[in-house]
C-alpha cells in the first residue's frame, strides 16, 4: 500500500482536523448556502467528518487477519466512531442522512473519502450537495447556540451503540441482507433512529452459542471459519452458512471496488 499516497490523499482532511472546533473549519469563504457553486475546493466539515466515520468503520471491519486484532486499536477506533455519531446526532445530521436514504447515496458517501481529497471533486460533490444542503442550513442555525462541541456521553450513547450493534448484526446474520455493504450502511443509518436497547449483538458482545470465549468480539467473524487475510467484506457478503451465493457474487465485485478506492492498495 502506498503510504505516501495515503498521506497525500488525506492532506485536505488534515487541514480540517487540526482544530476540532467546527467554528474554525467554517471559515468565511465557505459558502454554506447549500448550492453547488458555493462549495470550494476544501470540503465542508460535514463531508470530512462523514469520510472520517466511513474510514473508521472500514478500519474496524478490515482488521481481520489470522492473528487476533489489537484490542486497544479497535477500542480507540470504536470510540472515535461513537464520538462522531454523537456529534452528528446532536447536529441533527443523522436525521438528514436518513431522509436521503437511497442505496446510491450511501455508496457515494463511502467513496467520498477519495473524492474529497481530490482537488476537483465537484462532480462527485454534486451528488452530495443536495443531501447536505438542507442540513447545512440547520447546522448554521445551530451555530448560534453554544459553540462548544463537547461530546456528550449521556443520552446519545445509545444511538451509536446501536449503530455498531446493527453493523455487527449485518455481519453476523447475513441472511438478513443481500450481502451488500451499501445496503448494510443504509440499515445502520436507519436503525440509528430505533433506539431500542434490546438490539442485537454489539461490537464487543459475545455471540453465538459457541463454546469458546468471544470476548474479543472484534474478531467475531471467527464464528464460522478461519479468516483469510482481509477477507472481511467477502465474509459478510458470502458467509459459509448462507445460500445466497448468487446474490453475493456480483455484489462482491462492487465491494472489491469500494475497498480498493478506500484502501488504495
Amino acid at each position: 500500500m502506498g503510504e505516501e499516497e495515503g498521506l497525500h490523499q488525506t492532506q485536505l482532511l488534515d487541514t480540517m482536523f487540526v482544530r476540532g472546533l467546527k467554528r474554525k473549519c467554517f471559515d468565511g469563504e465557505e459558502d454554506i448556502e447549500g448550492t453547488l457553486a458555493g462549495i470550494k475546493a476544501v470540503p465542508s466539515y460535514n463531508l470530512q467528518r462523514q469520510s472520517l466515520l466511513d474510514m473508521s468503520l472500514v478500519k474496524l471491519q478490515l482488521c481481520h487477519m489470522l492473528v487476533e486484532p489489537n484490542l486497544c486499536r479497535s477500542v480507540l477506533i470504536a470510540n472515535t466512531v461513537r464520538q462522531i455519531q454523537e456529534e452528528m446526532t446532536q447536529d441533527g445530521t443523522w436525521q438528514m442522512i436518513n431522509a436521503q436514504n437511497t442505496g446510491q447515496a450511501s455508496l457515494d458517501r463511502l467513496v467520498s473519502t477519495d473524492i474529497l481529497c481530490r482537488s476537483s471533486g465537484d462532480q462527485a460533490e454534486g451528488k452530495h450537495v443536495p443531501a447536505y444542503g438542507t442540513f447545512n442550513k440547520d447546522f448554521e442555525s445551530d451555530q448560534a447556540q453554544d459553540g462548544s462541541e463537547t461530546m456528550s456521553t449521556a443520552s446519545s450513547v445509545q444511538a451509536p451503540r446501536n449503530l455498531q450493534s446493527n453493523m455487527w448484526e449485518e455481519m453476523e446474520n447475513p441472511q438478513e441482507n443481500k450481502g451488500n455493504f451499501q445496503k448494510s450502511l443504509d440499515q445502520i443509518f436507519e436503525t440509528l433512529e430505533n433506539k431500542s436497547p434490546n438490539s442485537v449483538e454489539d461490537l464487543f458482545s459475545e455471540v453465538d452459542n459457541s463454546y469458546y470465549d468471544l470476548d474479543t468480539m472484534l474478531t467475531g467473524m471467527m464464528t464460522n471459519t478461519k479468516m483469510g487475510h482481509c477477507d472481511s467484506l467477502e465474509t459478510f457478503s458470502s458467509p459459509t452458512n448462507t445460500a445466497s451465493n448468487s446474490n453475493c457474487k456480483s455484489d462482491l465485485n462492487d465491494l472489491d471496488h469500494i475497498v480498493e478506492i478506500l484502501v488504495e492498495s
Partner: protein
Amino acid sequence: FLPLILMCSNLSDIISTVEFNHTGELLATGDKGGRVVIFQREPESKNEPYNQGEYNVYSTFQSHEPEFDYLKSLEIEEKINKIKWLPQQNAAHSLLSTNDKTIKLWKITERDKRPEGYNLKDEEGKLKDLSTVTSLQVPVLKPMDLMVEVTPRRIFANGHTYHVNSISVNSDCETYMSADDLRINLWHLAITDRSFNIVDIKPANMEDLTEVITASEFHPHHCNLFVYSSSKGSLRLCDMRASALCDKHSKLYEEPEDPSNRSFFSEIISSVSDVKFSHSGRYMLTRDYLTVKVWDLNMETKPVETYQVHDYLRSKLCSLYENDCIFDKFECAWNGSDSVIMTGAYNNFFRMFDRNTKRDVTLEASRESSKPRAILKPRRVCVGGKRRKDDISVDSLDFTKKILHTAWHPTENIIAIAATNNLYIFQDKVNSEMH
C-alpha cells in the same frame, strides 16, 4: 551529551523489545521471530582502551514459537513483547520473556570448566572396561571454551485471555505481574499453575468497553505499589495492601483535556503507550503519541513536566490515523540519575530531554549518518518557513522507520536504540559518569 556510536548490530528480525540488566553488563533484545539475543559488555582493559565497553553477542536462543489457538482459529504470535531481568542472586542470570499469551523464565549460566579424569568413563563418556582400571584418580576441573547455556525454568501459561503488554518484576524479587488489555495478574516466580488477578477492568457487558490497559509497572522500592496506564490517558496507582482486587485505585493521575486542541483524535493521542517509574521512585514518566510527561506521585491533577516529542505531527493526525501510525506505541526511558529522559520518534529519530537545563536534542540512528566512533549530529525537523541546511521537512519523514524501543544503561550514559532490524548502542565517552 555527545553520543558516540559503539555498535550497530544487524539482527535477523524486527526487534520488539530492548532491556539492560540491573548492572548494565548484559543487554537483551527480543524480536518478532520469538528469538532473544543477549549482548555482553566487554570488560574494560588497559591494553585496548578503545575496545572497552563494547557489547558483543553473548547468547542467542529461541524463546517462543508460534502457536495456534484451535478454539478461536487464531495464531498466537511468537513476537517477544517484553523482557525483564531478574535481580541477580547467584552466578546465573535470569530473565522473563513474554509473547502475547505466555511468560517464560529463562536461566542463563556459563560453563567454562569441565571435569576430566573420570574413573569409570573415558574422554568420550563411554564406560571403561573395568579390567583396565588399575588405579583411582580424582577428576579435576580443566578450563574449556566458554559455553553459555540457556534453559527454560518456568513457563507461566494460560494466565491471559487478552494480549500481554507488560511484565514487571517486584522489588521483593519473589513476585512479578503481567498485564494484558483488561487484566493484571500477580505471579510467584516459583509457581506456574496459579496466579492472582489483581486488576480487572473488563466490563460485565463487553458492549460497554471503552478503555483498555496499555502498560503497567511495579514501584521500584515499595513492593505493594504499582501503576497502570490506560488508553484514555490516565494513570492509576494501586496499593496491594488495600484489597485483594485492586480495581479501586489509590490515586488517579489524569490531566484535563485542553479544549483548544480538541479533535476527533484527542483520545487516541492521549492514550499512554508506556509508563516508567523513575529510579528514585518519586516520579513516573509517560509517553503518549505526541508528548512525554513527568508525573510527581504526589500530584494527581497534572504532570509536573511536559515535553513535545514531535508536535509538528499534530496537523497530520488524519493521515496518521489512516495509515495506522497513530496507534504506534513508543516507549520512554530515564537515565540513571533521572535527569534526562529519552524516547523514540519517526524517521529513525530519537529525542532526549534534559530535565534540568530544559534542553532537548534530536538524533538519528542510521548507518549512513553514523560511523563508528563518530559523534552524532543533532537533527532538526522544519515545519515550513525558514529551513536550514540538513533540516528535514515534515513531509519527507519516513513513517516506516520508527524507533519504538529504547533503553538506558542503569548507571552510565549508554543507550540502546532499536531501529527495525538494527540495534544501535551509543555511549558518551566524554562523561562516563552520570551528572
